[in-house]
Amino acid sequence: MSASHSVLAKAQKKTRQKVKAKKNYQYIGLLYIAPWIIGLLIFQFYPFLSSLYYSFTDYNMVSTPKFIGLDNYKKIFTADPDFYQSLKVTGIYVLLAVPVKLAFALFIAMLLSAKLKGINFFRTVYYLPSILGGSVAISVLWRFLFMKEGVINNMLSYLHIGPVDWLGSPDIALYTLGLLTVWQFGSSMVLFLAGIQQIPGDLYEAGAIDGASKPRMFFKITVPLLTPIVLFNLVMQMVNAFQEFTGAFVITNGGPMKSTFLYALKLYEEAFSFFKMGYASALSWILFIIIMAVTAVIFKTSNSWVYYEDGRG
């Protein structure tokens, strides 16, 4: 009786300790993250929600916002051909630029993972364009290189090609801009590189013993183990590509014939040229919903193609 009693008491004591351990919060941690919480509420959460409210209003920054219900959305979907144009162009841009960029990043990462002397120098050189990528200077440079009488066409003329109107033709300009973003593959490349270096070498040794060819090992070992990084890069690059601005603004300013009028340019124009803040907020919410939907689809399908080492996938 007493023995069983003491066992029970011990067990109770243990649970009590466990509960206590579980509740052993160090509230000071909250103090450390407090700046972030405040920043989140003021600079992210509040703007996020208030833009939903503004999207139901007519607001020009001078008068007070006037509630107009769904009018902005109605107008966007029924009476704004530029909306569909920018959506179409952005869609093409994302579908084009993101996969090419990731494929290129992976390819270069494979090259740079080789154990060669001076490889760090090459890594630096290949990362360089990404450092400068989004700057106005590079957009200026791009404008000059791809002008009709620019260097690229001059070089092509030696091969008896062209001249191609890289930036002046509505059929081509968008692809030229896509090229610019592929040039900035560095950040995806670095993550791939890190992933490749974490793949244990004995996997390849085993593959080599089994007589697997190099391409086969690439597709059966390297690619599957990199899929989590592919997923991360895919989502981040997709979110970025949907919001691409500087290149299209500085190089082509949306033209010719709105062929590079990306969604961010449309947003910029409505908000900061016309100060139609309500209308622009509605546009920004539509973009948000599109990005979230695409992200959700990517994550949903990722179960079937992302490989997790602990067998979750």
Binding site: W36, F43, P47, L128, S135, N154, F288
Partner: protein, 281 residues
């Protein structure tokens, strides 16, 4: 036999890397070379080197065309960038310390929110932010850049720091606590010196991103007096239509020089640093 094939492989790798790397960097080399060319040379010639050298493009471009020159734009950019970088570093270290080392209510949820903000499109908050800053009278100042940085709004940086701190053994903290450190002195005296590589990465990234930032500059800064290098460059692009393109190119070179210098000095932290600290787990 095997050895020769691996040797050819190495050679092949090198030549590939060199050729492709050259193509990658060629536009930058062209930019530099062309800043010494005449207009006629810039257009209609594919030669890299100028046929006639123009030496004054840097001096003239630097002066600018209007009331303000690139000297002003550079100083402005530094006034904007330096506090932004410093506040980013301080706030992300402190917040990351909270996340990496303490247990508190809703921690998991808050952490998930922070990761989610990584993916929150800037486009969906920029308009209300602009309205908010307008109400606060922050438009046409650098506060929209500096103040949010002080509140750790760059989730990417916080995440980077958390990952790094997680890699430092907790025994250090415990030993320091036994020696009489409180949680803040543990951070400032013990962990901070060890965080140097991560702090460098955060600082360099933020420096370059803010330095090159165009979108936020163009929406928040309206008076030419306060223009950053990005805005000044675009101004000269608009102003000098059909005049001296070499000056525009020269200023493009000048505007990227700080980033290139910083990058080469810090590349050890960069490409190596983020590959080892940035994205484990």
């Amino acid at each position: 036999m095997r050895e020769t094939s691996s040797k050819t492989n190495t050679m092949l790798n090198y030549s590939f890397l060199i050729v492709l790397g050259f193509i990658m960097v060629y536009p930058l080399i062209w930019l530099f070379a062309s800043s010494f060319k005449t207009n006629a040379d810039i257009f209609g010639s594919s030669k890299l080197l100028p046929t006639t050298y123009v030496w004054d493009s840097y001096a003239l471009g630097w002066q600018g065309t209007g009331q303000y020159g690139f000297q002003d734009f550079f100083i402005n950019t530094l006034i904007l960038v330096v506090p932004t970088v410093i506040f980013t570093i301080i706030s992300s270290v402190i917040v990351a310390y909270g996340f990496a080392r303490f247990e508190f209510p809703l921690k998991t949820m808050l952490f998930s929110i922070m990761i989610a903000t990584l993916m929150l499109p800037n486009a969906s908050i920029m308009i209300p932010r602009y309205i908010l800053f307008n109400k606060m009278n922050w438009l046409d100042t650098y506060l929209p850049f500096i103040i949010p940085a002080a509140f750790a709004t760059g989730a990417f940086f916080v995440y980077m720091m958390i990952q790094f701190l997680r890699g430092l053994p907790r025994d250090l903290d415990e030993a320091a606590t036994i020696d009489g450190c409180n949680s803040f002195t543990v951070l400032s005296r013990v962990l901070l010196p060890l965080c140097k590589p991560a702090i460098f990465s955060v600082g360099i990234f933020q420096f370059m991103w803010t330095w090159n930032d165009f979108f936020n500059s163009i929406i928040y800064i309206s008076s030419v007096k306060k223009f950053t290098v990005s805005l000044g460059l675009r101004l000269s692009l608009d102003a000098s239509s059909a005049v001296s393109w070499n000056q525009v190119l020269a200023m493009s070179v000048v505007s990227i020089v700080p980033c290139i210098l910083l990058f080469f000095f810090a590349q050890k932290y960069f490409v190596e640093g983020i590959s080892t600290t940035g994205l484990k787990g």
